[in-house]
Amino acid sequence: MKALLFRRKPARYAAAVVAASVVPGSGARVGPLALEDVDPPELPGPDWVPIKPRLAGICGSDLSTIDGHSSRYFEPIVSFPFVPGHEVVADRAGPDDGAPDGSHRVVLEPVLGCVARGIDPPCGACARGDLGSCERISFGDIEPGLQTGFCCDTGGGWSTAMIAHRSQLHEVPAALSDEAAVMVEPTACAVHAALAAGVESGQTVVVLGSGTLGLLTLAALRRYTDPGTLAAVAKHPEQRRLARELGADVVLEPGEERRVVRRLTNSLAIGDGPITRLTGGADVVVDCVGTEAALADALALARPRGRILLVGMPGRVSVDLTGLWQRELQLVGAYAYGTETLADGTRRRTFDLAFELVEAADLGRLVSATYPLARYRAAIAHAAAAGSRGAVKIAFDLRNERERTR
């Protein structure tokens, strides 16, 4: 089968770091990612089934892996060589795997929790359904890997064949297109983040960044919370248009955040001239960028005792936390998904909520372009420059891949 394989090659990894520091996304050219012919992964247990990816999205975390920006934090919870790709819509490929309604399409929930790892009894988090918080992430039947797409045993979505545990698969309703279905996994992240933000009714929420995750978080905040004002920072015109469509009340450009938040919240600013520090600020700031600058902005924009939610993957950053201390801010992370408690107290699987949102907000339109595996360099370059090229989500289209070897 054909697969984009990410091997442990320190020299190439170093080259990717250097290249990507000049042109984002160029890690695909010189880095350890390569298109190879490999054997399909073996099934590690009875509940594992083969699947054939149809579409597989390129996520921001994939890009930072390819460009060598990922934190070394991931080293012990990743196993090499792996096939990236965890936003996957696939066909069941097993002999007797047809769903009752005849559909074969599934969406992968990539987190490899206790159930997938064959650990019984499961850890407390998994028992509660909070898969993203699994405490056995590098134990059990399969090699370490926090998700499918970072584990050497499971294969990944950027290939023509992979395996999945039955518990990871969600049936795709027939009415949902492949494009919409591939958005379910990132949407689940956004739904989880929106519900983790703890937005109370009428509060002011600022979302930094209007990439895929930022736009989806906006949509999720609009659907599952009740903010008074929802402001989105968007750099590119297409992002601004989408942000407005997906529910932002105020769309602003980078550089305007402090001024806009000051006006929205009737805050004062310290000193005259360019605004550096607000006395008040937004109730909740959602950082969907994950850079040092974005975190510094978030710290400046949140009101005293406000909440900052990190949805974008931050990595190693250097920020001044004096404000966090003095203003008693909450700095909260939001990773993956599992089970959510809604405002009315009911508990639902995040993926179920994500399916609803994708359908309701027509999120399939966010898939801007698809590429065959062979053009993976162009695909990754496109994804790395998605905003400026007027795109949101880039995905690999595997529906027409020819199998050369079997």
Binding site: V250, L252, E256, R259, V260, N266, S267, L268, D272
Partner: protein
């Protein structure tokens, strides 16, 4: 004898015409046969003995007023109000007219043994003046005699403890002015009447007023009914101020008005800038060389340096008349004196009006001309410099030339930035802006704080800039800015063009191929008297 202003018909032999272009210039060839250029009059002669003229005016007041010396008595409360940094433009060389007048007023007050004197910069909602600017306006002697004791202050339109409500006009307009001024036995108001809009009751009723009072005439309705606000008798803005003046008078506020006019000698007869004041066909070899050197040099300098060069220019313009006494009588003569310098008779309206906007307007002295001010200068001030009818027909096109950079002075214009980013991105319709946004800006605590303690224009001031242009916005079919920052021009709701030729092509979509063109060669200031 200075030559009067005139209208030049452009033919094939007409040289390229000078367009001011912010901190730079353009030379533009206008189409022959259908273009004309309005040239301002040459500077009127200055008063030979300004000190003597002031003395004479104070001793021989106009209208129903006693000489100033007779109005002063020991133990009285005297307030001297004076025009702020927005006048004159550009700032004049020392000694400033205000200094000359105020020193003589104070000398009379000293002779009368007046102890309780306060000087107030009548800045309405403008930014406060800095120490250097106050020193320049009133002179070091006056500054040092009063400022250290807190007796030379900037008017504060947001100080609840220092505003006095004096009543409402017959049309329900509230009149609220500076309390110290209202409670004085005499207000002496020292004006510099650069253009015919300045002075009269507008001095006290606007310069010393609060937001509560100003909003009654600084709004879209008033501005759309002021045709133009440079012509008092056709200006709703002035009617409102005159109504307020009546309330002031009835409330016992006594104003001794001193108005001064100046000639339009803004670039001087000598020096590198003098070429800007000459007619193109009269440029000598030296003038041409100076102009080329200046233009080439400026084009190569960074914006900051250019701005510094232009903002440091002190104009040699001088006083041409001074009159004092009762407000309305004084203002009639003042207006006639202003018209003597500015009015240029023009026959008929044109299809396309072109203007080169200079580097300065009333609100960016020692500051940055931001896009909102470009709009205000072009569509507010220059467009309204007419008497009778606008020089451009209804539905015609206005072409401005200005770099229109997306730049704001963060200290002086904080609310402008928010207005530009957050209001104009939503709408450019003055009525919608007034309805949906004015209140939140006017009552914003932070803007109020900066206006009162820093050097910021009031939060509502950018709205007034937009209202100032609302008459023009309603009148014009299209506005095109030549050589402006594309994004900023679009944000203003106008169309960007890279050259005048392009702009004229774009204009032909609206007014046709053979449209007539009129270029206003301003500054030096001129006012079109359109018949």
């Amino acid at each position: 004898m200075p030559r009067p202003g005139f209208v030049l018909e452009v033919d094939r032999s007409t040289p390229p015409i000078l367009f001011h272009h912010g901190e730079g210039f353009r030379l533009e060839k206008l189409p022959a046969g259908r273009s004309r250029v309005l040239y301002p009059a040459e500077p009127l002669p200055a008063l030979r003995d300004p000190e003597g003229a002031i003395r004479h005016a104070l001793a021989n007041p106009m209208g129903d007023s006693e000489p100033l010396s007779a109005l002063l008595f020991p133990g009285m409360k005297l307030t001297i109000a004076f025009d702020d940094i927005s006048l004159p433009l550009p700032p004049m060389r020392r000694p400033d007219i205000r200094q000359r007048v105020i020193e003589q007023v104070l000398d009379l007050a000293a002779a009368a043994g007046v102890d309780d004197v306060m000087l107030i910069a009548a800045l309405a909602l403008h930014r406060r003046m800095t120490e250097a600017e106050l020193r320049h306006a009133v002179g070091d002697r006056v500054y040092e005699a009063f400022a250290p004791h807190g007796l030379l202050v900037n008017h504060d339109a947001e100080d609840p403890d220092n505003l006095a409500f004096l009543g409402t006009t017959d049309q329900g307009e509230e009149v609220e002015i500076n309390k110290r001024a209202a409670e004085s036995d005499l207000i002496v108001y020292v004006n510099i009447n650069l253009v015919s809009m300045d002075g009269g009751w507008k001095s006290t009723a606007t310069g010393l007023a609060s937001y509560r009072s100003l909003r009654h005439h600084h709004n879209v309705r008033t501005m759309r009914h002021s045709r133009s606000f440079m012509d008092r008798h056709s200006s709703e803005l002035h009617h409102a101020n005159w109504r307020m003046g009546k309330v002031l008078r009835d409330a016992g506020v006594k104003v001794f008005q001193i108005e001064t006019t100046m000639n339009n000698d803004v670039f001087g007869a000598e020096g590198p800038m003098s070429v800007l004041q000459k007619r193109e066909w009269e440029w000598s070899a030296k003038d041409r060389a100076t102009f080329l050197a200046m233009k080439t040099g400026l084009d190569r300098l960074p914006m900051r340096a250019r701005r510094r060069i232009f903002q440091s220019w002190l104009a040699p313009h001088q006083m041409t008349s001074v009159q004092a006494g009762e407000v309305e009588a004084v203002h009639e003569l003042t207006t006639a004196n202003v018209y003597a310098q500015h009015l240029v008779p023009v026959e008929g309206q044109t299809d396309i009006l072109t203007m080169g906007l200079p580097y300065i307007c009333p609100y960016n002295v020692n500051s940055i001309m931001n896009p909102i001010l470009v709009m205000c200068l072009g569509l507010g001030y220059f467009f309204n410099l007419y008497k009778g009818r606008p020089p451009v027909r209804e539905g015609g096109v206005l072409i401005l030339s200005h770099p229109t950079t997306w730049e704001f002075h963060p200290v002086h214009h904080p609310s402008y930035i928010d207005f530009f980013e957050q209001v104009l991105s939503e709408t450019t319709d003055p009525e919608v802006i007034e309805r949906d946004f004015e209140r939140s800006f006017a009552e914003d605590e932070w803007y109020r704080h900066l206006y009162r303690t820093s050097y910021a224009y009031h939060g509502v001031h950018p709205f007034y800039m937009w209202y100032w242009g609302s008459h023009a916005l309603a009148h014009l079919g299209r506005v095109i800015i030549v050589g402006g920052d594309v994004r900023a021009v679009r944000r203003l709701g106008f169309q960007p063009a890279s050259t005048l030729q392009d702009a004229l092509e774009m204009a032909s979509d609206v007014v046709g191929r053979d449209a007539t063109i009129t270029h206003v060669h301003n500054p030096p200031i001129l006012m079109a008297d359109v018949s």
